[in-house]
Amino acid sequence: MDEFSGTIDVALSDHPLELDTCYRFVQHPSCGGLCLFVGTIRDLNLGHTVTHLEFDAYDGMAIKEMRKLALAARDTFDLQAVSLHHRKGDLEIGDVAVIIAVSSVHRAAAFAGCEWIIDELKKTVPIWKKEFREDGSHWLNARP
């Protein structure tokens, strides 16, 4: 990963994610704008009370797809650095599922790049959420 050194940081973890870790990675003296996104587990989804979630991940491919996204965002939006950490395993309400941090010389690119990463991640990265409600459980997005 030498070619990414210092500019791309991707992780898939079964431990709690830390905002400061992602924040510190993207800091750079040439950058005036840092944008961070934190995706957390909500207590309600489509009107149903959620009790907890289970994240399943195809680890090797998920890491590869996350790295592709980070690199594409870096190059498309001219970002200085991208940190992308995703959680797996069992998560409770309020737990952090994903953190994205990006830095850029100018702020508009930071916002655009950060939002692009989370939008694409939800389409392409092989990670699956099983939502547990009081009345049962189901894999999200799986059925029409």
Binding site: Y58, M61, P126, W128, W139, N141
Partner: protein, 78 residues
């Protein structure tokens, strides 16, 4: 050939993988058809993709012996 399953695919397969024979040398499209025939649950999904060696496979690609083939139901990370 052993095919790995994640998410709802595990429930359809009844475990972390499934056995599907006679697909080496066949296209990913043929694999998808065979899957839906043998495990009708896959036809009930919104959609599903196939990964070959940790990369999304196109329908035209040919399955080779030794490939790591994985069923990728609709993802929902983030």
């Amino acid at each position: 050939m052993r095919i790995l399953c994640f998410g709802i695919a595990r429930e359809i397969a009844g475990g972390p993988g499934l056995q599907l024979d006679g697909i080496v040398g066949k296209s990913v499209r043929e694999l998808r058809m065979a899957l839906m025939r043998e495990f009708p649950g896959f036809a009930d999904l919104t959609d599903f993709a196939v990964a070959r060696n940790e990369v999304y496979a196109t329908d035209e690609e040919i399955i080779a012996a030794g490939d790591e083939v994985v069923i990728i139901p609709p993802v929902s990370g983030g």
